[in-house]
Point group: D3
């Protein structure tokens, strides 16, 4: 069984029930997630040996986060306990023309203030086939940046494939700071995942002729972005997700993959959204699973897009689809007929 190690934050996600706005809420559903944690859970769910590395407080709320990972089979033996708080974020689900909203309360979380030496990467990455992190983790601050660099360097040294989802977060750092740090991180990365905005925000790479808010997407533009990424940073592969937001309730969803030679495009799905958060992460986990399983590029991309298409129909951040369910959609059955 292939082993994947993911590294990043795990936060408490609080959202009002259904479509209530924040100011209408009297109670919040509490789940636990984070860009890399979402990947770890999906990979465990696909049947891989999936481990998560992070730091959470020693109190019961920290324990809840650990428990949620364990519940879905993630190896939590590499999680350090300590620090003062668990990062938190609030999600208000949009509908029709009303956009979803996310409010972050994640400053000074345990993982953001991780101290040097708290993670023994040689040990944590022993036996791993793949290491995954995102641009969110170094954005948490200098201490988290240091830990991220330690991780990718060790992975590189041990011959572990490294993937990184750029995931630019404007609330966490400036574009300038992001470019400076990520330029160092990407040196150790093999597979980059991004959306068009990320590539521009972090590295200043922009596709010609596209306007995301207008829903204008040019295949050539995406190819040029992916090609630039792969060539400039000496990557094995770059994958870009393609979202057209028709409304908060309906999106078009697809992605492309470039392997240094050829560009592959997946079919586009029209998704009726149950919960859009975690959509990008579910693409990442789908891609890691399918590449680790030896699928060819087109099939791997199709699996990843089908997986993330299905994620949009699931509440909360984790993608809890099985391989068989994803394969069924990737194989062409989008009818949603009752399975008895």
């Amino acid at each position: 069984m292939k082993r994947v190690v993911c590294f990043g934050e795990i936060m408490m996600r609080l959202n009002p029930k259904g479509y209530l706005r924040f100011v209408q809420a009297k109670e919040f559903e509490a789940t636990f997630s984070g860009g890399e944690a979402n990947v770890a859970v999906a990979l465990s769910n696909y049947g891989l040996n999936s481990a998560y590395v992070t730091k959470v407080p020693a109190h019961e709320i920290g324990q809840c986060a650990v428990n949620e990972l364990r519940r879905f089979g993630v190896d939590v033996s590499g999680i350090v306990r300590g620090g003062k708080r668990l990062g938190t974020y609030y999600v208000e689900k949009g509908a029709s023309q009303r956009a979803s909203k996310v409010i972050y309360d994640r400053a000074d979380s345990a993982i953001a203030l991780v101290e040097p030496g708290e993670f023994d990467w040689e040990k944590l990455l022993a036996g791993a086939d793949w290491f995954h992190t995102t641009g969110i983790t170094p954005a948490l601050g200098d201490q988290a940046t240091k830990a991220t660099l330690d991780a990718v360097k060790t992975a590189k040294k041990l011959g572990v494939t490294v993937s990184c989802d750029l995931n630019y977060r404007k609330n966490l750092w400036s574009k300038e700071k992001a470019k400076e740090v990520m330029t160092e991180v990407i040196e150790y990365v093999d597979v980059v995942i991004a959306n068009e905005e990320d590539a521009y925000d972090v590295f200043g790479i922009k596709a010609e002729g596209s306007d995301v808010t207008k829903g204008e997407i040019s295949h050539e533009g995406y190819i040029s972005v992916a090609k630039t990424l792969v060539e400039k940073y000496n990557l094995q592969k770059a994958a870009i997700t393609l979202r057209t937001s028709l409304s908060a309730s309906d999106n078009l969803w697809s992605a492309m993959l470039y392997d240094g030679k050829e560009a592959y495009f997946a079919p586009e799905y029209k998704v009726h959204i149950v919960d859009r958060v975690g959509g990008g992460d579910s693409f990442g986990s789908g891609l890691i699973y399918s590449l680790l399983s030896g699928y060819n590029n087109q099939k791997a991309l199709n699996f990843a897009v089908a997986a993330s298409c299905l994620k949009h129909s699931i509440e909360h951040d984790f993608n809890l689809m099985s391989v068989a369910e994803v394969e069924a959609l990737a194989g062409g059955d989008a009818s949603g007929r009752v399975q008895r």
Copy 2:
């Protein structure tokens, strides 16, 4: 007031709230239903004298099932108490490309293990105008098959119109067994209800040129299926429901009716789905009601399709629309404007 007697199982249905997957559920909504029970409730709701015959355990969970039928006005005096368990099934609601899932836990239910002589059909069917059952009931096992045959034979003898929804369930029996048993049952049936797959699965009757998963529906194909059913089994009428599953969230829905001479097709509705389970049963009850009310074939079919179209907008299995509400849609008002 016309009296209809329905016979079959009543199960506990457990479903997670909203769109949660099974593995996310911490609580289940509990309702009670079954293919024939759904018909009995709808008919009571339409104002008919509707009775349900089944067997449930003497304990409180069995009582809950009885109570739910009573709540909607069904005559439960013919329900036998005993046996060890109530059949149970779990429903996970799908959305967009994610299909709904049903897990059955119904083996050895009270009705499946009903013993000879527990139902006094002469008495139960006295004064009845119509008797309804489905292909699910004999599929529960030899004892239930025996009871079903006793019922339809007695109904025939007493001149009660008999309808049967083929409802093939692959988890309950093989196609071979189904064909063997249903060939005997159908001898006593006047009106058959089916979808295209049922006719094929049970009797090997297949329409040419249709591929359900591809949403290709040919009117001629359906006519040929219905005609074959009516002629081969000497029926008064055969009705076939026509579903095109665009996704788990949106379906096209219609039906056709063949009376041995002519074929009738209802208008097709695009339904935005709240709960799809029980959709077929709501067609059956709509048809029984409208035929018993003396509607002509086209009007009867239109009523049944409008009724089942509306069922898709209702949570859980029972169709709780009134005659007036169904008539309004059948009459052409699909605008869904607020009724004050």
Copy 3:
């Protein structure tokens, strides 16, 4: 900060959760609303000094209504306490072809039986820039009619702009009675808000060539209705909302405004509905806000339509969108992309 005084009823709204029908409900969500109260809350939410005038019982359920207004910042100092009951209404949310239903239980509410002299309008309207009421309030009975007339007369005398949403309610009074009373009320009104049916039901004014249930809307017809209203009743402005009900789940929504010289039409939105009740009121509050803010007619209308478009995505009656959120949609971003 501009001050707006709204006058009318506030009721308890009870609705089953999600899409449950009344007969399936074991609990009701309890919120508080009313045509004019919905306007008062939205205006407070937009940042205006918004006051509500009504009468509610002195018991705790009456207090709940007051508390809900306070919660959203409405000035409740003009609310009189007394009377025996709070009006109540029940809402069942429709979906697809199934229409929403509203059952009223509002007779003999505190405000319907308000006694002469209970409201000191000179004091209540001192310093106000705008006064708003609807055709529902005088429909509550003779005592409420008297209070409404006192209010609009005083407003006129004090130079306060007066708006009235016609809002014909067939359960409260006949068309004849409505015409008689509203003909007196409109004498003191500056801005009228209506839908096409209201103008016909109350004043017998009908657009040529329109059939609302068929979704046929003619721009010329609306202009003629608005023009007739403005000219016949000497108004400053008449606004008419334009709804095409595709189903209970999807509507088209727009509006037009006529200022005595020119007619303005807003863009039309396709809304996927979360809760349709309060949609008209949210147009009214959007219009009052934008006119009070000095927007030109086209921009004011566009703001009001965008505001009410967004209301359809919010649970319960109050429109809880901020000015910035409405402006974003009015400015053209209907993509519903996640706001982080």
Copy 4:
């Protein structure tokens, strides 16, 4: 099977969840009850042929009330449909020193405004063994008083045993009016149920040496009250419930019965309260059941007190204990050990 007919109102009961105060509630649990309806449900639950006579509106909320009675097996064929509203009341559950609160909103309910001739008592009471009503029903107004008198007179004529729970409600009528009406009603009553306050409030009969709010209860005082009732009004039996309210969470509970010759006292239970509303009604239904079942006076009283003791542990108004469960407690097992 003995047949009992109960007559009175059925209301919607709305209560916040758990121990929330009214002003904290965002949703209400909705059940249906009423002093006599509670008796009808308990008797059906005990296995008797129990019918309820009332009037409810034709709309869906009225239907909910009918459905709730049907759910528990009550014969609802005598319920008249019509009128404008269903009476409603709000319950806030107290705890410790904080008292429970009830707010009534029941004026002008369908049953309060019942019109002459709407109930055909000869038919409704045909075949009945017992008729039960309470002092609440005539208190609803002159029309309800008329119907009550019609009912008890017909019952008397037909030889049906008549019971009446005095149940004085100060919000519905004055003591003077109550005395006037109830003096006429009691002429036709065989068995009276009361608490000490009722006898005083309605008929001015007061026990010496008791102060209910101080929890001082004298056996002799109760005997004198019961004796006065029986002798003055020529009754077969008078039963008085004895409650000592230690707090809203804990009560002492017992009762006495006088049959014109001897006084019987039941054991006293200390009850830890789940829901106290309906406690008195559960005594009444226990007494009717046990007397109809031919128990001797002491055993009948003990059954009634055990039944109502157990009611205090059940949410909402209906007493849903089985005969076997009540017998177990009456037989001395108060240990509450798990029944597997």
Copy 5:
């Protein structure tokens, strides 16, 4: 109407439903509270003109806190908007021998990082009769300490009575730091509220012969503590709450008051606990209300103890009892009988 200004933090309180432990929770009830906010709400509820001064973030979660205060009638015009986060705390309700748990996540909240000059105390306290804060606010950090000192000094200057609940929080500061800061704060205080532990933890004042964990309480000990406080810090009054924790479900509760001359003791209540958090604050608000209302010392103390006794029966932190309800208990009716 007397005006009271309270100053401190307002936090989001998150608690699992019922008696679930943190690690069992899938959702949290969200309310808003804080030691001084609880006092402000209770005083508004008692009918006083109550204002709250604090700082909350400009985002929607901050708005929720403001809305909750407005809902209960608190004047929020003195609340500053800004800063990055709202303090949060988690409450797990105990039962029987299992203690309740509180986890704080309040560092770096908006109010803790308030900047000099953000509060204009001269304006905020204009027209005030009373100012209330607690030892929690200065414990939030140097900036909050500075603001607290500014407030109490201005209050003193303007002749506003100042009360302070010592409320020592060991997670926020050391005893040494507390003593240093509170020694400066108390210089401006007129009325101190404390429990025995507070006086010892903050000022090193300990009663002889008491052991709180053993439930041994000596009246003389409390008098000596109160006397020491009043004399040493030149106070008008010192009040000490007396809690005996029999278990997490049952407590004994009382208090004493010393006015420099005489010591008063209130009756002791045995409380069956619904929610214990906010118990101390409800004593403070009761005392402020009764003293401002001119009650004599004994009556004021009795009111405060009755008020806080009742708080223990209410969910969440706010004491939502009316003056009449508190007076009823203080007047001796602890029977908890249903109020209809």
Copy 6:
């Protein structure tokens, strides 16, 4: 870290919310438990290396059970997947004099029909320090008996300490059958846990002078039962739990331990019950933990009783107290004071 392997069933537990009776439930809380699973979870929670061995269906409901064990850190690698159904049971929580009820629906569960060779006990028990099972497992049927005997024999062979909770279930087998099977099982057992009824029901051993339903407990009687067990079956230790059921809401709880030489009695606690199910199992896990931790007999017993006392305050079957929390109570602090 000590390793404990537990073997038995894991079922889905369905219970109505709060104190609702089964017939009132519209939804059920769904948790997963079983006598031995409860022990495995508690031991994992105490920090031991705890593994669970069972068989569950391969479908999602089976996965939910596995997930719940993983969530609390239990090693699930020894769980076999297959079979047709997961055992289910329903719990109705009692209160005051109303007893809790349990309805089992566990026949033909995956573990009951486990086939020979499905468990490789040599491998499963390698490295284990302790093996625990109960009398429920062999009661599931001959196949489960066979697996149980295989397990205890292998444990004995490998020198693993074996404990068994007698746990007689009258619904599963007769006393005769129980005696026959358990007499074989106990041959391999080192530590027996029981309540007085179990010893009598399974082995016919009865204490003189005790009547459990009357709450009469004689220390000498328990010593004689324990002594008989130890001597007759050559045990190391026998522990007996002592419950006095005052009501469904309040119990007295203690236990005794006999080690072949001396008898130890723990302090008795009065527990106010939140959820009584799983109380016995929590004693077992407390005892295993404390004995494995090298506590002396008295201290071990005290720990076990304190642990199970606290379990009664926790919802559902699992005991989720930490070692520190148990130690605090065992150390004498039963005050339940808030832990901040």
